[in-house]
Each structure stands twice: as structure tokens, then as C-alpha cells.
Symmetry: C2
Subunit: 336 residues, 2 copies
DNA sequence: CTGAAAGCGCTTACAG
DNA sequence: CTGAAAGCGCTTACAG
């Protein structure tokens, strides 16, 4: 293992000078820098990360905290975070956290105490561990939350425009002539559920439709709740001609019910989802949905966090990214 | 930030004694240990990981290397690795690696040079970077591969019994009365593709069926290739009554083709997959498939690696885990 | 532009 | 059973 000492000796300089070259500090003569660089290359020198961290007091890593059943979602976010972090020279430490367990939450704080990370990114619903966030804030440890529950404080977060996404999807269905549009609500404990519901309701109102509770079903974002919701809505006295499930898993459940009932989709029933996960295009017929900019959200969150770590960002930034309507085969004109 | 010095002072012992308690070394008087433990708790002491690593020369971390399009798969593996590693006191460093890029491969070696990890787990097809493996072996850095391409050397790996899984599925379809069973082959560069094909062929042979090339289609494990394969097989002169796609993505593609063609599944066509990813039960009808023990494979690989790191395992272990036949709604008796 | 010294917070190897 | 010393490989703060 070659160390900074070996390189210094070979280049005929002090270790401080080698350190300067490694860290791209100014005030090194070009000729000296070249000599050091040459020595490093020849010896295959790579700095010892632990030594660096210990001496500098910085971890050079960010913590990625999640508490989640949907790995489909988590892994999409993770990908964005890993990419951005790597390119900025940060490592990513992945940390599962059970928000209902105090001990598990404390482990997040331990990551700071043991100097493993400099800051955090929280994915929902891990951001609901209020105690942890308070502690981090008190300790001056920066963090950014992705689509958090709590948005009233002045803490940094990034989120998709759930309200507008649902609004646009509903308007699209209305434009297809649908008037009885069923809606399956997501997990009530997530703020996005409420926002998607409101977007749907606002679009109906704007078109002079009244908000009919009989057309709404309370789900929880799971495939199984989509199954239940689909059955409930389609077995009613005045079944909808379109069902907008507020995520793709539930929409896939509704689609299965449609198949079971022998309904042609979209001939007799249009079905729409939300999120645009892979599942959306792998079912038959492929689902019309609202694409959440998950990757962009992850990149934005990481960008903001690293800006905070470098002291470039001081104000807690709150960014809302637009969604995109993705029209596929599961929606069509209202049957006459 | 409380350090080992603070704790030592408070407990009235030397730092070496505190170190002994932290590392659960023997030869500490019970009374002393209790005093130190108390001091640690009172001060909220957590050891500085970097200092520990630097002093001990051990990273206490394993590298998780992947090069993959399928995050569904990667994240399942990752989950198992994270769990097992955490419980054994190891961190997991996630490292993407483009096997076709020499520079990217070198970064894997850098993780060792910078003392960030003690060993590696490779997921397919990242294990094909032969140069990296050779270098690691030369440097005495342990690694375990999950379902690797190369299995002739005496390097450690874990794998599922692909051959047997495909054999059992085919036998199951034969028992349902099917005689014309189509097969969609996976990515030819992956050894699992070949093994699944052989399992299929062996079952046919055992039932006195001859191996008909017209019933095979060369896919690549993607949904799109399932679409193509389904169309090719079903449009032939003597279409199969069952199609066994060698992974779930391709099976979902075949299912979509069946819907397009207006075929009843499983009334007119049985469809089976392999892997048992979430998609398999979220399509309609839910897919009969072969469950790969992905989680168990990940746990086993991590277990073996940690055994090697601790010097408990010396011989390179090679473990094959059984698969499970999962019967759902997409398969049924051969139509008469 | 360059360097000598001190120190980051632990563990190792050795002594008692 | 306990501890004093040295050292892991860097960076910081300071001096020149």
C-alpha cells in the first residue's frame, strides 16, 4: 500500500505538498505539481479515505434513509442519488430506518456521531421521524427530504406537483367525454394522496361536475386495495366509465378486476394510474399514467444537499418539479 | 463529540481499557466493564468509524458491485446483502461498474486501495470483469459472486438451481397434458439462459418428446423480446398450447400478445415464467413461475464473504440453492 | 510557493 | 486484569 509519504519521497517534496496536489489546492508550482502527479501515477497512489476523514473531520458521505415497502420506488430514487453523489465525490451510505421504532431512529443519529456521514436525504415516509429531524437540525447536520409529509417548516425538500398531475389526468379523461370518473384514494397518511385527490376534485369542479363521494374509494396505494376499489366501484348502481387510481399499483389492481368482469379496456372502461413505474407498461393494456420525475427529484435533492454541505446553499431550498401525462392504451373515449 | 479519551477520564481508566470494552475483548474486570459502559451511556459515546478503520487497517465494509439494467433484481439482492451485512456489523458500499469500461473496472480496485472495503459481492453480469477478479485474487481480497458466468475456477459463488427449476416447470406443464410447449430462451451471454433451456429439454426428453427447434425462440430476458417471441411462436403453423418464457419479463410480454390475439389464458394458452418478481402476480392472469431464492442467495453470499473476512472460511465455497415452483392462474390443462 | 509540527481518535504490540 | 507508547495516513494551522 503506497502512502502519501512514499509519494512525497519519490517526488522529493514534503507530504504537505503532495496533500496540496491531491486536494487541488492553489499555490503549487506547475513544475512541482507535475512531478508529484507523475509519482502518484507511477506508484498507483490512492489516498486512504479513513485517514482523510479522520484528519479533516468530514465524512465525504451522505446518508440515504428510507423506510419503505416499495423497492421499485426506492431504487429509482437511490439510482439518482448514487449518480449525483458519485459525480460530486461523495459516497452514499444506505440506511433503513423503521420510523415507528425509537431505537431504529437513533441509529440515524449514530451515523452522525460515528462520523460516517455529513448529511442526509430522507425518502418518504422516513421523514416523519420528527425527533430525528429535530436532533439533526439542532446539531447543524443538513438534510433534504423527498416529497415529505411536513412542508410548513422552513426545511429543505423537493417534491413533484401531485396536485397538478392529478388535475391534468382528470381533465384529460373529461375531455375524452367521461363524466362518471371513479377515483381511488391513496394511503391517507401520505400527503400526496390528499393532493392527488384535490387535483381530481378541482378538475371536476372546473368542468361543472359535482364531487360524488360514491365515486371515491379509499385505498392505500397497494395492488390489493386497487382490487378492492375496482370491485366496489364497478359493482355500484351507476358504475364509472373511467377509473383514475392514484398510483400504478392500484391501477393494475383495477385492471385485473376489469379482466375478471370481462370488461373491455378501454372500450368499456378507461383506467389511469399515477407514478409511471415499470409495471405501468408491462400490463395489458399498457396504462395511461402520470409520470413522477423520480430521478430528477433524487438528483435535485442530492444537489441541494451537497450545496448545503459545501456551504454554498444557506437558505433551505424547497423545489417543486412538474409531472408529465403519459398516454398509453388503457384510456379511450367514453362509451356512448 | 465525545471521544474515547472523555470516556476513559470519566470512568477513571485508560483509553485502552475503554477500547477493550468497546470491542468486547476478554480480560476486563466485570466491575471495570460496568463502569466504562455506564460512562459511555451517560456521554452518548459512539466510536469514530474512521479512526477505527485507520488504526485497525480494516474497513469493516463490503463492496456491492453491479452492472445491471434490472433494478428489480438488483434491489432484491441488495436488500439481502444490506440486512446480513448490518447484522454482522459491516457497512455496504454500493458500486456501479460498467464491465465494458476498463476505467470503471479500475474503480472497483480503487475501493480496495483507498481502504473503503474489505471484500466484494458481485452480481451478474459484473462478475465477467475477469481482470478485476484476477487482481483481487492476487491482492488477497476476498469476494463472492452471485450466479456467475464462470464456475470452473475454485472461486466462491452462490447460485440458484436454474436447471432443476426449468425442469420442474416443464414437467408440470407436461403433466397438465401439454405436448407442444414453446420456450423462450434468455440472454445467450448469461449461463442461466443455457441452464434453463437444458432443464426444459431434459424434461421433454424424459417424457419421450423430441426437442423441436420450431418451438424455441431466442429472446434476451426483456419484455420486448417476450412480445416478439410470443408473436413468432403463436403465428407458426402448429402453435404451442403452452409457452414457458425463461423469465417473468418475457412471460409478461407473451401474456400481452395473448391478449392482443384474443386468446384465453389459460383456457387456450398456458403461460409460465421464471424468477417470481412482483410483476408476476400483478398481471392478469397472475403468472405461474419458478421462484428464485434471490434473498437467500444474497444472504448466503454475504454470509460466506463475512466468513472469509473473519478468516473462518478458507476454502472457496460454492453453494447451489433450490428454486420453488409457484403455481398461479396463467397455466391450466391442455385444451383438447 | 513550500514545509515542519501537531493532532484527528482510535488500535496494535508490548510490558507489567 | 490494566496501561503507556507508538503509529495508522492523512489535514490543519502556522511559519517562512
Amino acid at each position: 500500500m503506497t502512502t502519501i509519504d512514499n509519494v512525497a519521497k519519490r517526488a522529493g517534496v514534503s507530504i504537505k505538498t503532495v496533500s496540496r496536489v491531491i486536494n487541488q489546492e492553489p499555490y503549487v508550482a506547475e513544475e512541482t505539481r507535475a512531478r508529484v502527479l507523475k509519482a502518484m501515477a507511477e506508484m498507483g497512489y490512492v489516498a486512504n479515505v479513513s485517514a482523510r476523514r479522520l484528519a479533516s473531520g468530514r465524512a465525504g458521505a451522505i446518508g440515504f434513509v428510507y423506510h419503505n415497502p416499495s423497492w421499485q420506488y426506492i431504487s429509482s430514487v437511490l439510482r439518482g442519488v448514487l449518480e449525483k453523489a458519485r459525480e460530486s465525490g461523495y459516497e452514499t451510505v444506505i440506511h433503513p430506518c423503521n420510523v415507528h421504532n425509537a431505537k431504529s431512529c437513533d441509529e440515524v443519529l449514530d451515523l452522525v456521531r460515528q462520523r460516517s456521514v455529513d448529511g442526509f436525504i430522507f425518502t418518504p415516509p422516513s421523514d416523519v421521524a420528527a425527533h430525528v429531524l429535530t436532533q439533526l437540525q439542532k446539531a447543524g447536520v443538513p438534510f433534504v427530504r423527498i416529497t415529505p409529509q411536513e412542508r410548513t417548516s422552513s426545511r429543505a425538500y423537493v417534491t413533484a406537483d401531485d396536485h397538478r398531475g392529478a388535475f391534468e389526468m382528470t381533465r384529460y379523461l373529461l375531455n375524452l367525454g367521461h363524466r362518471r370518473i371513479g377515483f381511488i384514494v391513496g394511503d391517507p397518511s401520505q400527503i400526496a394522496s390528499q393532493q392527488r385527490l384535490e387535483g381530481y376534485q378541482e378538475a371536476l369542479l372546473l368542468c361543472g361536475q359535482r364531487d360524488d363521494a360514491a365515486l371515491q374509494y379509499q385505498g392505500d396505494f397497494s395492488y390489493a386495495s386497487g382490487l378492492r376499489g375496482g370491485r366496489a366501484l364497478l359493482q355500484g348502481p351507476m358504475p364509472p366509465t373511467a377509473i383514475f387510481a392514484s398510483n400504478d399499483d392500484m391501477a393494475a389492481g383495477v385492471l385485473t378486476v376489469a379482466h375478471e368482469f370481462g370488461l373491455d379496456v378501454p372500450g368499456q372502461l378507461s383506467i389511469a394510474g399515477f407514478d409511471n413505474i415499470d409495471l405501468a407498461w408491462q400490463v395489458y393494456p399498457a396504462l395511461t399514467t402520470v409520470a413522477q420525475p423520480i430521478h430528477d427529484l433524487a438528483v435535485a435533492a442530492t444537489e441541494i444537499l451537497i450545496g448545503m454541505l459545501r456551504g454554498e446553499v444557506t437558505e433551505p431550498e424547497q423545489r417543486t418539479l412538474p409531472t408529465t401525462l403519459i398516454i398509453r392504451a388503457s384510456t379511450g373515449p367514453c362509451p356512448v
